[in-house]
């Protein structure tokens, strides 16, 4: 691969900082989901530290979409990034399955409890994640779990934003440079609704069916017996044309009602219309 052209001054500076952070770490075990941030981090860490001092690790569970897993595996294969998969068991934790608004804290606590010992076993000095500078401004309960486990966030420490990472990924030829955000399947359930394997499976099957019809940016939101489909606003005319097939495909995943949101996909929309109450009583 030819050397990337990092001619933009601010990016140069931040990239130098990232290089310095990684060199300071010495060797890293990367929490690797296969998303934009962790693919970039793994690829760049490989360049800086070499294959003997980098290991990308993916936590596998029912809340991790299979389509995301395949993309994650393809990225490490393409770029020669050392990689392992491990099973995580957040669904065995009642604090997680109760699905509170800080659910991510319990998921990340489980992930780091697996990666910490693994890193020590492999002789890797530091466990790192793909949090970026923009994540500081978001509500990120998972960040507390990382801090408690001593996990470092090199992209954030270097001041790299999501836009920076997409731009750098594009220049490096990474397939994820324009990939949409891909949060875990549990994010499709309203807070307070118990996370179960069956519900996650229904959402995943429904989303696979929607994806098979050519949609890229969308969510299937779980509302009990009803699935509410959000597609990117630009795709709404197409969703109208394909409504019959969409309805049948999502229903086949196990939903009694299929509802097409008239306003389309918006990030974090599942809980915007719900009070933070104990929905489980109704589920």
């Amino acid at each position: 691969m030819s050397a990337p052209d990092f001619s933009e001054p601010r990016l140069d500076y931040r990239l130098d900082r990232l290089r310095a952070v990684l060199e300071e770490c010495g060797s890293v075990c990367i929490g690797y989901s296969g998303g934009v941030d962790s693919v970039f981090l793994a690829r760049f860490a490989l360049e800086v530290l070499g294959p003997d001092r980098v290991l990308a690790v993916t936590g596998r569970s029912a809340s991790y979409p299979e389509v995301q897993r395949r993309a994650a595996l393809e990225a490490v294969r393409q770029h020669g990034i050392p990689h392992l998969e491990v099973d995580t068991h957040e669904l065995a934790d009642p604090s997680y399955t109760a699905n509170p608004s800080n659910r991510c804290y319990f998921c990340k606590t489980e992930l780091w409890s697996v990666l910490g010992p693994l890193a020590r076993q492999k002789g890797l000095a530091v466990v790192v994640d793909g949090s970026n500078a923009d994540d500081r401004a978001d509500h990120r309960p998972g960040a507390r779990a990382a801090a408690e486990a001593g996990v470092r966030s090199p992209l954030q420490e270097a001041g790299l934003t999501k836009a920076d990472i997409r731009e750098l990924s594009r220049k490096m030829g990474l397939p994820t440079w324009d990939a949409p955000a891909a949060p875990c399947l549990s994010s499709r359930l309203p807070y307070g609704v118990t996370v179960t394997r069956e519900r996650l499976r229904a959402v995943e099957d429904a989303e696979d069916a929607v994806r098979a019809l050519g949609f890229v940016e969308f969510r299937v939101r779980h509302h009990g017996d009803a699935a509410r489909l959000e597609v990117a606003p630009a795709d709404l005319p197409r969703a109208v044309r394909l409504a019959r097939r969409l309805g049948a495909a999502v229903a086949a995943a196990g939903f009694g009602r299929v509802l097409l949101d008239v306003e389309g996909y918006r990030r974090g929309a599942l809980n915007e219309g719900l009070p933070l109450v104990q929905l489980e009583r109704a589920s």
Partner: protein, 76 residues
């Protein structure tokens, strides 16, 4: 009449007032979704009323496109 049923009836009246003949039910765990049964080609018209429908107490506005729903288009 339950609060959810009352909201749904008000939603039907609101849509009828702008020329959209639709049936509305409250779907979801707490009736948080206004499930509108209207021809799917009217999606943009219903979307134009989304803010007004949310003001009735719904969190979301959606067209029913399930296999048994009447909101199906004549083509796919």
């Amino acid at each position: 009449m339950s609060a959810a049923a009352r909201r749904a009836a008000e939603a039907e009246q609101l849509l009828a007032a702008v020329g959209i003949d639709a049936r509305v039910t409250a779907a979801g765990l707490q009736g948080e979704v206004a499930a509108v049964r209207a021809p799917v080609e009217r999606l943009a018209d219903v979307a134009g009323q989304a803010a007004a429908l949310r003001a009735l107490g719904f969190g979301y506005v959606a067209l029913d496109i399930g296999p048994d729903g009447p909101g199906q288009p004549g083509r796919d």
